[in-house]
């Protein structure tokens, strides 16, 4: 449902896309990579993607940043000393490797603590539910616009992979 997801994002006004890929949302980045109209910037690191997103917002766009949850670790300083204190909103689309402990060892710890980690960083989030994703995005976007701060949509395995 990569195509439908991107149409949904555009419907909510998101119009700048950057990030670092993850196999769990390969079905989205394939479209972003293939179709120049999205202007997708493949970033070198997740915090660099957040910088690009901040610049795009300063220039009038509403950004989406895609990343694997391993990249949340790399992103902490950008989130807390740029986006959150400067009131720069963004939708983070974050994959959930390591969910339920059933994944490669490097994802075990972040997978286990991710929800608490997002809460600790004071980032409102929802776990992608294909049956309710439009409602989830509507709610996250409303929160993001009201607070001018990042929110996250967490993507488990098996939804946007293809």
């Amino acid at each position: 449902m990569g195509r439908a997801f991107l149409e949904l994002l555009e419907g909510f006004g998101y119009n700048f896309f950057t990030g670092v890929p993850c196999s769990l949302f390969e079905g989205v980045t394939r479209i972003l990579d293939d179709e120049p109209r999205y202007g997708y910037i493949s970033a070198v690191r997740e915090d660099s993607a957040l910088g690009l997103a901040a610049g795009a917002y300063l220039g009038g766009r509403q950004p989406v940043v895609l990343m694997q949850n391993s990249g949340l670790g790399t992103s902490v300083n950008a989130l807390v000393s740029l986006h959150q204190i400067y009131d720069i909103p963004a939708l983070l689309v974050v994959s959930w490797r390591g969910r339920d402990g059933a994944d490669a060892p490097e994802h075990a710890i972040m997978g286990r603590i991710m929800e608490r980690f997002l809460s600790l960083l004071q980032i409102p989030f929802a776990v992608f539910d294909p049956d309710r994703v439009a409602t989830q995005l509507e709610s996250l976007t409303a929160t993001m616009r009201a607070t001018h701060k990042p929110v996250a949509l967490v993507v488990p395995k098996g939804i946007l992979d293809r």
Partner: protein
């Protein structure tokens, strides 16, 4: 040449209509003290990300000149940002590095830019124009046409270590800086 004088000289050449992203540390504070304008965005944290912020801005505002005021420590912290700029090749992006081979805000501890030439890295990565200057005369010569030429460019300005007196902190809150900057972009 002092960094504060170099910052002021580059700001004057860029003009108040150019959109400027200034890295965290003394460089942004010097720009604020010497040549503040609504088109200036001063970082106070997220060290290393000035080039990424400037790149995102340059890509969505292709008709505006974007100038990133950066430091050697900042560039080294996010060298991938230089690669990203080179890959995207925005013609309106100009990267100015005030290089004192030191972390000027934390006590002038050495960086490694005395042994690694940042403008050579930018040239190898694919910036269209790169130049190193180390005196006020050379800087004035370079600035004569610098922001009118096609980017991405890197102008590396070798400056003295140390901080001049009378440099204040940015008085606007981060959130105020964001809204002021965004208003200045949409007003023009």
């Amino acid at each position: 040449m002092t960094r504060a004088d170099a910052v002021a000289q580059v700001a004057a050449a860029a003009g108040a209509r150019s959109l400027v992203v200034a890295c965290n540390g003394m460089i942004g504070r010097e720009l604020y003290t010497r040549a503040d304008a609504p088109t200036r965005f001063y970082m106070i944290g997220s060290m290393g990300l000035a080039s990424s912020i400037g790149l995102g801005l340059a890509l969505v505002q292709p008709s505006r000149t974007v100038v990133v005021f950066d430091g050697d420590g900042n560039v080294l912290m996010n060298l991938g940002g230089v690669a990203s700029v080179a890959a995207a090749r925005p013609a309106n992006f100009h990267h100015v590095i005030f290089d004192n081979a030191a972390h000027g805000s934390t006590g002038n501890q050495r960086t490694i830019s005395d042994r690694v030439a940042l403008e050579s890295i930018a040239r190898a990565a694919g910036y269209r124009a790169c130049r190193r200057v180390s005196s006020e005369g050379e800087l004035a010569d370079a600035l004569g046409s610098w922001f009118g030429t096609e980017g991405p460019s890197m102008l590396l300005v070798a400056v003295d270590r140390g901080n001049v007196a009378g440099i204040g902190r940015v008085e606007l809150s981060p959130a105020e800086l964001t809204s002021r900057f965004r208003a200045s972009v949409s007003a023009a």
